[in-house]
Amino acid sequence: MRLEIKNLSVYYGKIEALKGISLVVNQGEIVTLIGANGAGKTTTLKTISGLRPVTSGEIVFDGVNINQIPAYERADLGISQAPEGRGIFPGMTVLENLEMGKYNRKTRKAEMSEDLARVYELFPRLKERATQAGGTLSGGEQQMLAIGRALMARPKVLLLDEPSMGLAPMMIQNIFNIITEINNQGVTILLVEQNAQQALSRAHRAYVLEIGKITKEAKAKDLLNDPHVKSAYLGTGAHEIF
């Protein structure tokens, strides 16, 4: 698995949300993309998963340019996303939400029980709530469901869009522990976060995104001590967002 973005530009009408960004995610890594509100983090993930069209540049997955592949086929390629705001189907039960995770897989019947067991092991809470409507879960449970559902597709790379958003500190800790655990099981992760402290202490490598441009790329641990990152994303500044 190798995901590579080359010189990617994405527009919303006349607004250039991504101004030629490049980044690489290698097999087995947790790569994090940190940035303030409106920097273009969500746009980056939406473009990788095909929900936003590419204006220029390339998305290369396992050596193949996937610019023209529709979003609904990218899940089957091995790109899975837990979207911003969790994107739970509120009227479906937890189990039905999880089943949706492998909607398009030809082998879904054979894999279903094995993958459900795997997700339930990671998130025992979801098993307890299997027949409950997705819309009635708490924020943290919904985030677990969003991640669990993305794992159902057996992703080669898992895209996480601000999994800590709106969660209590305890739950944030819990979610990040699970993210690390998933990575230890061999899933490559591209993690988008405003919570730079947590993201940088979990990730291997990191990119800083500022108004549509990548301004820094380094080992995650190094960025924790970077003066600019410290003042912009780690100190008091980062907390004002909440």
Binding site: L51, E73, A75, D76, P83, G87, M100, G101, N104
Partner: protein, 337 residues
Amino acid sequence: MINLRDAGATWWDNASKLKRRSLVVSLILFVYALPFLNNPIINTPGSMFESVLFYPIGMFVLLSIGLNIVVGKSGLLDLGFVAFFAIGAYTMGVLGTRTNLNFWEILPIAMGLAMLSGVLLGAPALRLRGDYLAIVTLGFGEIVRIVAVNEEFIGGARGIAGIPTPPDMFGMKFEILNPKPYYWLLVSMILLTYWAVRRMSVRRPGRAWDAIRQDDDVAQLMGVPTFKYKVWAFVLGAAVGGAGGCLYATQILSIVPDQFSLNVSILVLACVVFGGIGNPFGVMVGAIILAYLPERIRFLTQPRQLVFGVVLVLIMNLRPDGLLPRKKREKFESETV
């Protein structure tokens, strides 16, 4: 107010297979026997009950089930459903009067043409969302009617007269003064459609439509080809509308463009919303009531529309999700962050 849907659903879930079967069978037999029911409370003074059973009641039930695939299942607001009804009726009118084809041969053609126009309209329009789709479909409904008014080949404003009746079946003659066979045929079409829609709803297409309605983007992330399924919903709805129009034309024997006005689209949509959007059984009940009520109170003449309107507003206030809404858990849809 007690929750009728949940009470009914609970009874249904707990009932044995035998109980369910006998309920369904007796209900179906009752519906087929309705034309023989000479009950002054139920009958419609001022119009022939048997004929009211066919149109508007039965016809609106069929159309509502069709529109519910589009509006209720996949969440697409279609304000021009009458277009497919008109296309079905005009196919029967034109082919019935100009060729030797009979109703049974024309029916698949009518459905096919309605489906084709569903694709032609749907392919560009379904890329739009929400309000825009509503406006485009509304326009389409009007365009079909206006073309019918202006196109002399299909009779212009005078419409088409002398449409043939279907050939005899099981020794029954289809005649304008004997609506029973038409009604039975229509009930059979409704049952078939209802069964087909139900089967689809519990399988993969149903899941896909559920997902699309709740969150189109996330549905795509899960691998649902959302555009394809939206077009399919549109086309299946169109097929039902076309079939209804075809049967309507062969019963009424002459059609004019005015029968296919915006009002029909709105009334069918009202049946869907009133009965409980997304729940085919509720939609059927809604259509029965909305189509029957104006006929039942026809004797009121002038204030009839007013009474109808007041009843509609009252009930929608008491039951904002419709008479028999879809499964309760879906109500959480709008409340999530």
